[in-house]
Each structure stands twice: as C-alpha cells, then as structure tokens.
Chain length 342, copies 2
DNA sequence: GTGAAAGCGCTAACAA
DNA sequence: TTGTTAGCGCTTTCAC
C-alpha cells in the first residue's frame, strides 16, 4: 500500500523507472545522455519514456543543479521601439545558449526596478540583464548581497560595481550635432525625452553641449525643451519651441519618436524640411525610414549590443565572478533627408 | 561533523532556523505569514532573517507547491509593433496577479513554436498564452498530453480544443472596406503581409472579399498583392501594384506597417492622398498617428485584449479545467486623413 | 553496468 | 505553539 500513484497524473522519472524495471538513477543517466548504460536497458527505458510521454521536470532539476537556466531582463518598457528590438535579440540569443528569459517592464520606476530585482533573485535566475533608470536603490543591495550575476545596460550606476555594456551616448549626440554644424547650422535646438534611461539622455545632452562648445557656439538655454516620450510629446515640444520665439535653424531630438513628432508638427506649421530647418534624431527606429523626409539619426545598433549583453552575462554566470569590465559601443551617424545637404 | 555549512553561501530556511534556535517549519510559517507563532519566536526568526539576509528560494517552493507562478508567452516577435503593446500589457497584468512571464519569440516558425511549447512545459509554467501562427503541430500534442492550461490568441487551431481569445479580424476588414465603399471607392486593392498570424490575415482577406460581395463589387485578383511585414515591403508591394497597371482608387492594407510603406511610396510616385487614392490600414500602431496624412485604420485594442488573455489563463489555472470558451473582441474603425471624406 | 540512498530548499501533515 | 518527518522530482555519489 505504499504505491501512491494516481492515475493520469504527470509521470516522473520514478514512473519511468518502474515501467522499465530499472531505477531512477539509470533513467537519469539516459535522459541526460551520460552513457554507461547497456543497450538493452537504455532501449527499455526509452520505450517507457515514450509510452508515458515523460518530460523531465526542470524545476526539480534546477533545485538540484542550483541553476534555472533562465535570465531576468528588466527594461523600462518593451513598447518603446528602442527596447523592442533589444528584447528580441536578447531573448533569441539567450535561447540559443539554452537560457529562457523572464521579461520585466519597470516603466522606469525605481520601486518596480527594485521589486523585480528581488523577485528575479528569489526565482533563482542565473543572471540579470538590467537596463536601469540610473539611480541606485535597494534592489542593487540585494543583488550585491546575493552575488547575483548582473550586467547593467546603458550607464554605470554610481555606487554599484558591475560589468556594464553601454553605448556612447555622449559621442552619438556629439556627432549628430557636429553634423548639423557642418551643414551650416548655428541655432540648434535640443528636444529631450523623459521616460527612458535618464542617464542616456543626460549624456546626449552633454554631447550636445560639448559639440556646441568645440565649435564656438554659445549654449542657449532657450533652445532646449523637454518633451516626454511619445510622438505627441514631440509635437507639443515643438509647439513650445515655436512659441518661445527663439531663433532656430535646426533641431537635435534626443530620440526618434520625438524627432518624428517634431517633423510632423513643423510640416503642419508650414515649415519645409530640411530647407527651413534640419532635424536629426537618435535611435534609428523603423519609422524613421518611412516618414518623409526620411529622418537623419544616430544608431546604437541594438543587435550587437544585445548580443554582447547576453554573452557578457553568460561569461559572468559561467566564470562565477564578475571582473567589472565596461564594454562600450560606438554609435553611427545615419544621414538621410531631414538634414540639409552641403 | 554533520554540519556542512559553507561560509558565505546562500542562506536557507535551515540557517535561519538554526540561528533563531527554532525549526524549519516555524520559519516557514513566519515567512508565509501563516500565524500561529508566538510573538517571541516570530521576532527572533525575523531578526535571523534580517541578519542572514535570507530570501526564500522560489524554485524549491515551486517544486513543492507544483506551481511556478509563471506563465509562458509565445508570440511571433516582440519587434512587431502589434505585439509589443500586447506583450507589455500581458506582462504587467500577470505581474499584478503575482505571475512572471517567460517571453518566447517564435518568429512565426512552426518548429520554434513547438520547441518553445515543450520547453515551457518542462519549465513547469502554470499556463501558456500563445499567439500561434495557426497551424497544428507536435507542440500542441504535448500541451494536450500534459494538460497544460493554455489560451490561444488570434484564431482557433483546427484540431485543438482550447479557450481562445480572439479578435474579429473578419469584421475589422469588413468595416474597413465598407468604409472605403461608402466614400465611393470601387477598385479596392488588398495588400497583405506574411509573418504575423496567417489566420488573422486570412480572416482579413475574407472580410475584404465579403464586403466587396455584399456591395456587388466583383473581386479582382489583380488587385491583391502580397507583401511581407516591413515598411519596405509595403513600398515594394505598392510598386508591384502600380506596375501591374490595374486600375485602383483605394488600398486596404492588412496592417499599418504595410499601409505606411504604401503611402510613402504612393507619395513618392506623385499620388496625392487621399485625393487620388484612399488608403486604410489595420492595427493602429503609434506611427499611424504621425505620418501625414494620418492613417485611417482599424483597432484591435491590445489592452483589453491582453488583459482578457491573462485573466482567462488565470481562470483556467485556478479552476484546473478548461471549458473551451471563445472570447472575441470587436474591432473599431478609426477614420483619419488617409481616406477621403464624404 | 546498475541501484540504493542522500540531499537540493521548501511545505505540510502529524505528533507532541 | 512548536518540532519532527516525509516528500516534491531530480542528480550524484557510492557500493555492488
């Protein structure tokens, strides 16, 4: 009366063993292709597996192996066309190496970041890829305490030592503005968004100012206007710029969404682009190739970036130590039709 | 010499018990807020938890509880602006109910769908939300065999009984084409994409033909052209339509991406929209509001849709039985500037 | 080549 | 109120 099998319940390695007149350990050897099992027995076991439609329980395996073969991925929101391709490449790459990815949208809210970090750790993910908003918080402490492998995307977090995979946002902004200057612009406005990583925006702002500076153009605060992160915000930010009555011959928008909204509004208001004003964005989202004029922009190649992020977290996971490196990718200038030709 | 504690290793419930001079079970009661523990002991245990920075291991809990508190989400690709908001709302909603989501991009490839289905089941997800490409395959067998809760998004799968959460794509296409007819169009072209759920496209095609039929317009095969799923495909499909030399006064594109590419190409070729040709899309992606003319389209409200998908899978998970219902959402016509006014 | 047994970290009878 | 024990499904010594 020790047999507690319930008809129709999910078969375990034990059921397979019983049916094949063998033992758990041997079945385990077979399902893990470890060899050292006689042809005969192996066949019997494989038959039993087929008959019972046995599937190994990875939760049990994970408990034993202390590895879930999953990574956590925290980003502000996958709805943002900048993150969507990144999420895609990360999931695909992780899968290629046998890892599942648990997706977490933090909405760029510190509390959610923290909560997700803790959750992922309790779920025993093998590592975390974290596109952080930039602020240090409790979640990081937990990561530190538990020694969870992590790679931070975007920017280094003050007070938190890890490997970072970043993109040179400063340089990206710099080359964008430099391009504007080269084609003769002097009154370059800066539209910036909010929700996405503060840090990136900050760097882009610095890059903007630095390019101005290096070209002896005096920074004019009147020319910088804050939007948020939707097409509509691009439109309203552009409105505001126009209403201010400042003189501007070109606009550098800190992301393409803003830039596109900006272009549409400019056109609505009767401006001709790039004749009257040149505009350049950042990110090269798909829509940039499709509006008219096609948007000049800066590309942070998400594919290499995302692939590198995965490879990096795997390296840390497998080596069991983080050597605190920084891998920075250089952006690329893409000139299309929204900036004047020389 | 039975004590195998290793300095610096991750603390378990056992370590907490030892430090608090108590037992595993009591600690378990405390961390699960089950009550029935004396104030004194509880405090000692909570102290020990703090000191050790103990975090419960959810893998162990999952093994015991036979529930991982995670769901699997399979979609073609999160890069597609139709799926990105869906993924976002699903993850957010699932999280609200205490479930994590494992994201899987199938690329609309049957083999990947199948592989992910099997993987998710082995990972013991509590349920699966599956935006299937439409074809029945081995993966479904495994779902069936293991009795895994699943809700299929999009369309019913022939030969596979489950609860479906769908959107009335037939009707959506119908009202789009009907709108075109109402504003006087007779030669309505149909551009259709590929990668995303075949089924949806199929239904949209049927809706297109049906609306034609109901209005005594003879279906003309010359007017249907196949694209794929990028802006560029919309452009090339439009090229093809023009090259065919058929007479067309309007275009119904089976998704906004195609529609936007189409509009841009039309404009490049000197057509005026909507004066020369009216175009209407499907999905209401963000870019639709931002191109000029603003795109008329059909909306399959991903937010209610996604929320319902999660609620449905949770209902099945908690009731432990699937009653095979179908919940179908009605689409909404959004008239903007790319279709002529009456 | 094979199986018995211990144990991964937790929960839940059951006993005290 | 508390602790002991068994067991979730698996892997891995260790004997045979």
């Amino acid at each position: 009366m020790k047999d507690k099998r319930v008809f129709n319940s999910i078969p375990t390695i034990n059921d397979v063993a019983k049916l094949a007149n063998s033992s758990k350990s041997t079945v385990s050897r077979v399902i893990n292709n470890q060899g050292g099992v006689s042809k005969d027995l192996e066949e019997k076991i494989r038959d039993a597996i087929d008959v019972l439609k046995f599937k190994p329980n990875k939760v049990a395996r994970a408990l034993k192996a202390r590895s879930t073969k999953s990574i956590g991925l925290i980003i502000p929101t996958v709805e943002n066309p900048v993150f969507a391709p990144l999420v895609k490449i990360i999931e695909t790459t992780a899968d290629k190496y046998g890892f599942s990815t648990i997706l977490c949208n933090s909405d760029g809210v510190v509390e959610k970041e923290s909560k997700y970090l803790e959750l992922l750790i309790e779920k025993q993910v093998d590592g975390i890829i974290f596109n952080a908003i930039g602020e240090f918080h409790k979640g990081f402490e937990i990561v530190k305490d538990t020694n969870t492998p992590i790679v931070v995307l975007g920017k280094k977090i003050e007070g938190f030592e890890t490997t970072n995979v970043t993109v040179n946002n400063f340089r990206g902004a710099y080359i964008a503005v430099e391009h504007l200057i080269k084609i003769g612009m002097r009154n370059i406005a800066f539209l910036f968004g909010k929700l996405e990583a503060n840090s990136a925006i900050f760097d882009r702002f610095e890059g903007y100012k630095s390019a101005l500076d290096d070209n002896n153009i005096i920074f004019n605060e009147e020319l910088v206007v804050r939007g948020k992160n939707s097409f509509e915000d691009g439109e309203s930010a552009t409105n505001e710029l126009i209403q201010r009555g400042v003189n501007f011959d070109s606009i550098f928008a800190s992301n393409d969404i803003l830039a596109i909204g900006c272009i549409e509004r400019l056109i609505d208001k009767g401006y001709s682009i790039p004749k009257d004003v040149s505009v350049i964005g950042y990110d090269d989202i798909p829509a940039s190739r499709v509006i008219r004029p096609k948007l000049s922009t800066v590309l942070n190649a998400p594919d290499v970036f995302g692939t590198e992020a995965v490879k990096t977290i795997l390296r840390i996971i497998y080596s069991k130590k983080d050597t605190y490196q920084e891998r920075m990718f250089e952006p690329e200038l893409i000139i299309r039709d929204s900036t004047r030709q020389l």
